[in-house]
């Protein structure tokens, strides 16, 4: 369906020289990309910290979270300036609105990385390898990070088809989350001395599931930015059309 809908070429009327507003928007996009990569790296580090039980690495994540927050504020302020000074309209307006919301979703994903890092710091001993295996948390990590990377690619290349593919991929993450309950409950029953560990792990899985949700929100914003279609609160079937 979307292949037939060619969006209006945003620069059809413009010359090859960038206007002041275009320069600002390009800068804004590159800033949000930096934020994105920072969050991806934060999540990746918590995966390594979990696997290797590397508390130093987890502490590094906690301290880098301040930088993610600072970047969020900077991007918010830049959006505010563009609204106030340039009064963007049409695709430009949608871009600033989308960046503003993507920024918020990324910041929340950054918080999640910090939260997981804190669990790792609080844990007393390395996480049971069998538990990690059975809950599929590492797979969940790989999937969420890959989704986060692809949704960034979709943003950079303005690829709404790719953005739409995110909705389906998030299902896998949801599935792992749902199954984790039974797995962790079993583990706790058979290892009553490791209840705390099980609780940490289930909390981490819940958090990672939220990252998937943030990615879905971001994908919706990308589609709104490019096609001006609002997909929020629509059924999955409708979104993928």
């Amino acid at each position: 369906m979307e292949a037939l809908d060619t969006p209006i070429e945003s620069n059809a009327l413009k010359s090859d020289i960038m206007t002041h507003l275009e320069e600002e928007l390009t800068m804004l996009k590159s800033e949000i990309t930096v934020m994105w990569q920072k969050v991806i790296s934060q999540l990746h580090k918590t995966r390594e910290a979990l696997l290797e039980f590397d508390k130093d690495l987890a502490r590094e994540v906690v301290s880098a979270e301040k930088r993610v927050n600072a970047l969020e504020l900077k991007i918010d302020r830049d959006c505010e300036n563009i609204f106030a000074l340039f009064n963007p309209v049409a695709v430009d307006l949608r871009t600033v609105l989308a960046v503003l919301k993507i920024n918020n979703n990324l910041e929340r994903s950054g918080d999640i990385a910090e939260g997981i890092a804190k669990y790792i710091i609080s844990a007393n001993e390395p996480f049971d390898k069998e538990l990690l295996e059975k809950t599929q948390i590492l797979r969940m990590y790989d999937e969420t990070n890959s989704i986060l990377e692809d949704v960034l690619k979709a943003f950079e290349t303005e690829d709404t088809r790719m953005a739409r593919s995110i909705f389906k991929r998030d299902e896998l993450v949801d599935e792992i989350n749902v199954k984790a309950n039974a797995v962790v409950a079993d583990f706790m029953r058979s290892h009553p001395d490791k209840i705390e560990e099980g609780l940490y792990l289930i909390s981490m899985i819940r958090k990672l599931e939220r990252v998937g949700d943030h990615c879905k929100n971001i994908a919706e914003e990308i589609i709104f930015n490019i096609e001006a279609k609002v997909l929020k609160h629509k059924s999955k079937k409708k979104k993928e059309e």
Binding site: T19, H20, L21, E80, N81, A84, L85, F86, N87
Partner: protein
């Protein structure tokens, strides 16, 4: 001593009994764009015209206070107004090219100065038209009458004419208000480009324009300078209620 491009100190202007500028002090830094905004009759144009002494010949005009440019009082007796205006160019609301060729329009100022060497004139024409972002549109028709161009093109020719005498300050009195949106956008982009080489002061009624082109905004109201600050400050968090009312269009 001072790096200010322009320094105004306790400036008052009277037209007969009318007190039209009330104790205005401000400084303007080099290579910036400053926008003067405010409702009609607030004194912004009068203040702009003070800067190249265009009010001097208005009946009943009287000024107190000082205006210094590059540290020099421009109302000092030893200042020659013609010399001052070489340094301070002005672009008006309506494009006002002379009924001459594009080429002659641009070099008008140089001719007055007695410069007639063709190589200098040619070079000036190309440089000025390029800076005014109109070279590509007119380079093959330099002998065409400037009046045959569109309004937006005429305005850029007028800007080129102003730049030809190498001013350091360019004053603009609503330079885009008589133009269509595309021409306006071109002039705005031009202003943004020009500030790397000039100090620009622009009077505008268009709030969005002030936001888009300026670094600093001065809001005038009934002869007073109410608020003067970074453009971002003015448009996001103005300190005075009057400013907020004006820029949000809530003026009673």
């Amino acid at each position: 001593m001072t790096t200010h491009k322009l320094l105004a100190e306790n400036v008052n202007v009277y037209y007969d009994q009318a007190h039209v500028i009330k104790d205005v002090s401000l400084t303007i830094e080099p290579n910036t764009v400053t926008a003067f905004i405010g409702p009609s009759g607030c004194g912004k144009s009068t203040f702009l015209r003070l800067i190249n002494r265009m009010n001097d010949y208005i009946d009943g005009f009287r000024k107190t206070g000082h205006i210094l440019i590059d540290g020099e009082d421009i109302y000092d007796r030893k200042i020659r107004v013609e010399e001052l205006r070489k340094k301070i160019g002005m672009v008006f609301q309506k494009p006002n090219p002379f009924p001459k060729s594009i080429y002659e329009n641009v070099i008008y100022g140089l001719r007055i100065q007695g410069i007639n060497k063709k190589s200098i004139l040619d070079e000036t024409v190309e440089r000025s038209l390029r800076r005014a972002a109109i070279w590509d549109e007119v380079k093959d028709n330099l002998n065409k009458s400037a009046l045959s161009l569109s309004g937006g093109q005429q305005q850029r020719i007028c800007i080129a004419r102003t730049l030809a005498v190498e001013p350091s300050i360019v004053l603009m009195d609503e330079p885009a208000s008589a133009l269509d949106p595309i021409s306006t956008a071109k002039i705005e982009e031009l202003i943004y480009e020009l500030k790397t080489q000039y100090t620009i002061i622009i009077v505008t009624h268009n709030m969005q324009q002030a936001g888009r082109v300026s670094d600093r905004v001065a809001f005038f109201y009934i002869g007073e300078l109410i608020e003067y600050s970074d453009t971002k400050e003015i448009f996001i968090n103005p300190k005075k209620e009057l400013t907020q009312n004006y820029i949000t269009g809530r003026f009673g």
